[in-house]
């Protein structure tokens, strides 16, 4: 048993549901107690999803506990099949249901005989893997299932496209700026005459998956979700893949060069060269290389930062800070403990220390000890920063609704570099502005608010007033005083406060 207040990566079933809800016409049925369907709330709130989240629950209640689910799960699968006619139904156990040890696989087999949709049981161990690992696995599970199915039906299309093409794997719902990233990737690949064969999984049908092998190679923008699938496709269908994410100017160039080499190795008759494109984009389209050169950025040299997030984003931001801006990264860390070796390899040359930890208390302590000029982290680090008065740029999940912006905010590619630099620069200048204000003794609100009322507050009322949250206190105080004045009352008691409130 472990005392825990906060977790960076969610439970396994969240990962499965993120994959299921990324495809169209895939429905997930959770085998879970009442209230475990919180995923629907997140999807509907954070992504402001317009459609009903295709996740329902086959409720585990007291009856199920004593007698087993029996026909309940099967009936729920059949009902969803009849009503929504999905291509695939994924039965998803949760932590709770997995310890019931019901034979869910058997339910799936039995239900599949009577449904027109395919039925799968999400194959994840809830006590051993987290959300990200589960998402990675479920994506592989689905793709493997449909590749095998296509093989059996002999519909697997193995003929490569005549022109260089790729699949993007890892477009998953509730990911950090994923939708914007995908748009940016589309733009870059379009510029390079690289045909995008499939984007997995956001918005595609599982029926499309048999077209996967037509692409020349797979492109995996993130570390956390997609690598298992890419490995599977490499072994099974001999498809190479690239897992260098185009974050920042330098790594984007590196990524595009890797792609060029790969294409040229695959087909020597159509040699591609992206150097001109990289050059023009870097110097003129993106502003970030020029920014590094500009005098603004000189002020950032030697400033200190700490970085924490998922492996992909934390490593990428660390490199941008150190390589492109000359900022000292005191430590770089990730909560993706299973990716420790990769992460270490990526950042060890660009920071003083590498941290792999998923305890936010430890991270808070480290931030406190190192006192960086700025933090780049998740929502949790943002709040730690607030407490310590250190500015923070949010660069990774877990995030709140403000990190699902309406505007175009990719992190990848050339526009992504611009966005990242803005984020970094704004974090540091904000910190500097606060610091300067403090040096010159700050804003002087006392001189703006003139208090001329002759109303007194009883000690109990003063106590009551202190209960009111700070940001509205002054406003409410004024309202109450105005009310009292009208009634010719000169001492405010709690009773007067309530009457004033009632009459406001």
């Amino acid at each position: 048993m472990k005392l825990a207040y906060w977790m960076y990566a969610g439970p396994a079933h969240i990962g499965t549901l993120r994959i299921a809800s990324s495809f169209v016409k895939v429905h997930a049925i959770m085998h879970a107690p009442l209230g475990d369907d919180y995923f629907n709330v997140m999807k509907s709130m954070l992504e402001r999803e317009r459609n009903f989240t295709p996740v329902t629950t086959s409720i585990v209640d007291r009856n199920v506990l004593s007698r087993g689910s029996q026909e309940k799960v099967i009936n729920n699968i059949k009902q969803r099949d009849a009503e929504e006619k999905p291509d695939l139904i994924i039965l998803t156990p949760t932590c709770t249901s997995s310890i019931l040890q019901e034979d869910l696989q058997n339910f799936v087999i039995r239900a599949a005989q009577e449904t027109s949709s395919d039925v799968l049981l999400a194959d994840v161990n809830h006590y051993r893997i987290n959300e990200l690992q589960a998402a990675d696995r479920t994506l592989k599970q689905i793709i493997e299932f449909y590749i095998n199915k296509a093989k059996e039906k002999r519909t697997l299309n193995n003929i490569k496209t005549p022109y260089p093409s790729l699949n993007i794997i890892g477009a998953v719902s509730l990911g950090f700026h994923v939708q914007h990233d995908i748009t940016e990737l589309k733009k870059i690949f379009h510029d390079l005459n690289l045909h995008i064969n499939l984007i997995v999984a956001e918005g595609i049908s599982v029926r499309d998956l048999e077209k996967l092998p037509q692409a020349w190679f797979n492109f995996i923008p993130y570390r956390e979700i997609g690598v298992l699938t890419a490995e599977y496709l490499r072994k099974e269908l001999n498809m190479p893949y690239i897992n260098t994410a185009p974050f920042g100017i330098i790594q984007t160039a590196e990524c595009l060069r890797e792609i060029a080499t790969l294409i040229n190795n695959l087909n020597s008759s159509t040699l591609v060269n992206y150097e001109d494109y990289i050059d023009v984009q870097t110097r003129f389209i993106s502003q970030s290389a020029w920014f590094s050169r500009s005098i603004d950025c000189q002020n950032l040299i030697g400033k200190t930062a700490v970085v924490f997030g998922d492996a992909t984003h934390s490593a990428a931001i660390t490199k941008i800070l150190a390589q492109e801006l000359g900022i000292i990264v005191l430590w770089a860390g990730t909560y993706c403990q299973t990716d420790e070796a990769w992460f270490n390899e990526q950042v060890k040359d660009w920071c003083h220390q590498v941290i792999v930890n998923d305890n936010h208390g430890t991270i808070a302590k480290l931030i406190f000890e190192y006192k960086p000029d700025a933090i780049f982290g998740t929502q949790m680090e943002r709040h730690i920063g607030k407490k310590l008065n250190i500015p923070c740029g949010v660069i990774s999940s877990p995030v709140h609704i403000q990190n699902f912006p309406l505007g175009y905010r990719p992190f990848l590619g050339y526009e992504g570099s611009n966005q990242i630099i803005d984020l970094i620069y704004n974090s540091f200048t904000l910190g500097m502005e606060d610091h300067l204000l403090e040096m010159f003794e700050g804003h002087d609100p006392e001189n703006i608010i003139i208090n001329q009322s002759n109303i007194t507050w009883s000690p109990e009322a003063q106590k009551e007033l202190k209960q009111i949250p700070g940001f509205v206190r002054e406003k409410i105080k004024m309202k109450i005083e105005r009310f009292a004045e009208q009634k010719s009352i000169y001492e405010i008691t709690p009773e007067i406060m309530y009457i004033a409130k009632e009459n406001s």
Binding site: M1, A4, P11, H13, V41, M42, R48, T96
Partner: protein
């Protein structure tokens, strides 16, 4: 849809969305200031709380997960030792007056004997441990509070009131009255003030803002609930504590509040003072809202057990309620509220809406599509998708967290209900109704 002149209860599949009852931790740790809540469950529970609590989680809440690991599930680890270790850590870091253990689905399934272990650890570490099984196998959302308060009730001292009076020579105007249900301190004060106007002094609240000041409840005490989801607590107070339950509608809306106070006055054998006048004044202040809401229709999908009281108040305001979805209906505890619903419908000459227990959200959405109500009161899982289809929604959870009790707060209920409808009148100018 067919409606009748009688109460009809239907029960659907129970496939509906609601918050897990462990969410009660979010408001109870704030209410009971010297408490610490330990939720003994899995990552799923933790993830829910972390997300549902929003920014509260960053305010160093006096709550934590006792996160079960594989060793706990397979009983390789000893429950007693593990829990003791965690509680000692909590005592060292926070030093609370009481630790609440919240049992979850997992502790139920692996049959962890929390009630058995708690007294042993309590005596060994010297901090009271209260066990509540607020799990999703048995309960929905606000019922979590009910399980906690039912457990807490057993800790209240229960001296016989008559003996106490004799011993201390207290001569009081009325028998001691204890109110149960967790309300924000401001509302507690408003209600105390309201009862003071009737010369009623409240002997105590369950819960009070401090664990150490639990009220005395014994033979001769009167108790009254402020919320419709507290049936287990009511039962414990009656059966175990020998208190007399004042059955009444709940103090939600001016109609409910007036009757609630009246019933308390009746039980304590006091004549009410100016109560009808007070109610009238509040209704007058609500005039503009009522004019706006009159004739508009509402559909409650059901997720927090406040539905009957809210529907009754909205019908009184002239709204038309199509359906009252509700997770669980205790017809005895809510008897007076149900009677008031019938009376209100008769008075307003509208048919009594269907009450759907354990609703099925899928069928409800079909009915919503058919009925096209002006407002659907629902959880966040359905709110945006319904809005995209041109149906106004109000997020039901707001009613649990907003101040809605008593005369003074009636207007906030109507404010919540009107908000989406008012907003809609602006958007009509744009011309777009559907966003799918």
């Amino acid at each position: 849809m067919n409606k009748t002149n009688n109460l009809t209860f239907e029960c659907e599949t129970g496939n509906y969305h609601t918050f897990c009852p462990i969410s009660c931790v979010a408001w109870l740790y704030q209410k009971i200031e010297d408490s610490f809540f330990l939720v003994i469950g899995t990552k799923t529970c933790g993830y829910f709380l972390q997300n549902a609590m929003g920014v509260m989680i960053f305010a160093e809440p006096r709550y934590a997960m006792g996160e079960l690991e594989e060793g706990d599930i397979s009983a390789q680890l000893n429950d007693y030792d593990e829990l003791k270790r965690l509680c000692i850590q909590i005592r060292r870091d926070r030093n609370p007056s009481a630790i609440f253990w919240i049992g979850t689905c997992t502790t139920e399934i692996i049959k962890m004997d929390l009630e058995g272990i708690a007294p042993k650890i309590e005596s060994s570490i010297g901090i009271p441990i209260i066990v509540a099984r607020a799990n999703g196998l048995d309960y929905a959302f606000t019922q979590g509070e009910d399980t906690v308060l039912a457990a807490l009730a057993q800790r209240c001292p229960s001296n016989d009131i008559d003996e106490l009076k004799q011993k201390q020579g207290i001569a009081k105007l009325h028998s001691p009255l204890v109110l149960f249900g967790s309300l924000p301190e401001v509302v507690v004060k408003q209600i105390s003030l309201e009862l003071k106007r009737q010369n009623i002094t409240i002997a105590g609240w369950l819960p009070s803002s401090q664990y150490i000041s639990l009220p005395n409840i014994g033979n001769g005490s009167y108790v009254a609930g402020v919320n419709p989801f507290l049936s287990r607590t009511a039962t414990v107070l009656m059966r175990r504590k020998k208190a007399k339950l004042i059955s009444s509608p709940f103090p939600i809306g001016p109609d409910g509040t007036r009757l609630w106070i009246q019933k308390i006055c009746d039980a304590l054998q006091l004549d009410s003072i100016g109560l009808e006048q007070r109610e009238m004044e509040v209704w007058e202040k609500l005039e503009s809202y009522i004019r706006f809401l009159k004739g508009k229709s509402v559909f409650f999908m059901g997720d927090n057990l406040l539905e009957i009281s809210l529907a009754r108040f909205l019908i009184k305001c002239g709204m038309i309620v199509y359906e009252i979805g509700i997770p669980y209906m205790d017809k005895r505890y809510q008897a007076a509220e149900l009677n008031l619903l019938i009376e209100t419908c008769k008075e307003k000459k509208v048919l009594i809406p269907h009450i759907i227990e354990k609703p099925d959200n899928h069928s409800q959405i079909d009915r919503i599509n058919d009925l096209k109500p002006d407002l659907v009161i629902t959880g966040m899982a359905h709110a945006n998708p319904l809005e995209a289809r041109g149906i106004n929604t109000k997020w039901s959870v707001e009613f649990t967290f907003a101040q809605i009790h008593g005369f003074a707060n009636s207007k906030y209920i109507l404010e919540l209900v009107s908000k989406p409808l008012i907003r809609n009148t602006y958007y009509q100018q744009l011309g777009w109704k559907k966003y799918i």
